[in-house]
């Protein structure tokens, strides 16, 4: 494809995405007991808290920060977007991402989200299942199936969502490695600010060329759709499109890879449930919902109070920063019996693993579909794989983002 050479200096760099793994999520293995202890005291806490990484220092010049642990209270906040604003994300992510729907309140958020929503509906996604997702996963499996062992994080879960997003954006295949590198550098901006900003700028230059090309030659991809679409009689500006495309990277790549990894982790540690799903794939839907409840890939959502409020009897000052602990809410024992247990057979209930309210995850149907195809394809081709007894046992780690860093497995070579 012509016109995509402005960042050619990156193109030839071989890249193992795994090298960034430890800087993205943090290393806490089990934050849940501390969360549960605090939730039992109160589902809402005002002031600094300590979840094992040390309490933050209180800043007396600012409104006391609030942390929410309870399911009902998290839902209440996410449903009331007038009182609890998303503008806090301007500071957290705005400098890196640009102005995205993540940081918008109503009615602006809705008008922009509506423009892109149709591309993420389940019916629109069906066309990607076989031609795209299954193909990507099969190609990854081809690289290790004869060896009889692999690390599924490194060989599959880390790699497939970015390739799916790249294809949905209509990017040429040879661009996937550098696209993946920018995606991860952008996502890990908290660990390396300059590198994250550089990736953000590189992505803008890259997308500028792609958009120019799509305006001239529209295709069936999301970028063509974004340059074509209109909101209230006007087209999206280039800057709005850049911001949306940047947001898709952490939102669409990071989360799906983590959720799929955590699901495989759960299955590998419970043979009864592994075998149940292996023999009956209709269990995938409850099995996946349960993992998004049990180990949500994104564990914290932020809001800022636009006015004085009260939540579970706790006073919230106007302007207070509010951290919603999604992982804690999803393990609220008032809602889920035995909340720490992964159980695909538990009574199906709503969870907040995809968020809630007007900002509920736009890509949840894509995530479900991608993960279903990936897990089913792995089960079909590898047979009943098991944890590698000779490898270091894997762990789910992280605080704001969580997932296993490795999934060493063995299986019959050739599948």
């Amino acid at each position: 494809m012509p016109g995509l050479n402005s960042t050619a200096d990156f193109a030839a760099v071989p890249f193992d995405p795994y090298e960034l793994k430890d800087v993205v999520g943090g290393t806490i293995r089990d934050p849940y007991p501390a969360m549960q202890a605090l939730r039992r005291i109160s589902p809402v806490h005002s002031g600094p808290i300590d979840l094992g990484e040390g309490a933050e220092i209180a800043d007396p010049t600012k409104p006391a920060p609030v942390t929410v642990f309870g399911y009902d209270e998290v839902v209440q906040v996410l449903r009331d977007s007038d009182t609890y604003s998303s503008t806090i994300y301007e500071e957290v992510m705005g400098m890196v991402m640009g102005r995205t729907i993540l940081q918008m309140d109503e009615p602006e958020h809705r008008s922009i989200r509506t423009l892109v929503a149709s591309s993420f509906r389940s019916k629109m996604l069906e066309r990607w299942e076989e031609d795209l997702v299954a193909r990507v996963v099969n190609e990854l499996i081809d690289t290790f199936i004869d060896e009889g062992r692999t690390d599924l994080v490194r060989s599959v879960t880390f790699n497939f969502p970015v390739q799916v997003i790249a294809r949905i954006l209509g990017l040429p295949r040879e661009d996937y490695p550098r696209f993946q590198r920018w995606a991860l550098e952008l996502t890990s901006v908290a660990a390396n600010w300059e590198r994250g900003i550089a990736a953000s700028n590189a992505l803008r230059d890259y997308f500028a060329d792609v958009m120019e090309e799509r305006r001239a030659h529209p295709g069936d991809d999301l970028i063509s759709e974004l340059v074509r679409t209109e909101v209230e009689g006007r087209h999206l500006t280039d800057e709005e499109i850049f911001s949306f495309l940047r947001l898709i990277l952490p939102a669409g790549v990071e989360t799906t890879y983590r959720a799929t990894g955590s699901m495989l982790f759960a299955l590998l540690h419970d043979r009864t449930q592994f075998d149940a799903l292996y023999n009956d794939r209709s269990l995938f839907a409850p099995a996946f919902e349960e993992v998004v409840r049990w180990e949500p890939p994104v564990c914290v959502i932020l809001r800022r109070a636009t006015r004085e409020a009260e939540l579970a009897g706790v006073k919230i000052e106007s302007g207070a920063d509010i951290a919603l602990l999604i992982g804690a809410a999803n393990r609220d024992e008032r809602k889920y019996p035995e909340p720490d247990r992964y159980d695909m057979f538990r009574e199906q209930r709503q969870h907040v693993g995809f968020g809630f309210g007007v900002h509920v995850c736009l890509g949840m149907h894509l995530a479900r579909m991608e993960s279903r195809i990936a897990v089913n394809t792995l089960l079909d081709r590898l047979g009943p794989f098991t944890l590698d007894p000779d490898a270091e046992p894997p762990h789910i780690e992280g605080m704001a983002f969580r997932s296993p860093l490795s999934l060493p497995v063995v299986f019959t070579p050739g599948g």
Binding site: A117, S122, Q350, M364
Partner: protein
């Protein structure tokens, strides 16, 4: 008069289109009852096609609270009896 307890009347399902933002969450939980229109609103195709427990889950799970359940002209509360 018929005995209401012996034969409960079916639930009526309503979607508030001013609130609905087309998340598709209801379609996920109750695909026989809900569908998304071309302009991205949830529509009720068959209220009776899903059992009541599941309908309640779908209604409770609506991220923007756009779904309400009604019986004999009265709104059915969605809170769980815990």
């Amino acid at each position: 008069m018929a005995d209401d307890a012996a034969e409960p009347r079916p639930l009526d399902v309503r979607v508030d289109w001013d609130r609905c933002m087309g998340s598709g969450n209801c379609v996920f939980w109750a695909p026989e009852t809900f569908d998304l229109s071309d302009d991205g609103h949830a529509v009720v195709v068959d209220a009776a096609a899903t059992d009541e427990e599941r309908l309640r889950t779908a209604a409770q799970g609506c991220p923007v609270g756009a779904i309400s359940l009604w019986r004999a002209g009265a709104e059915v509360p969605l809170e769980e009896s815990t």
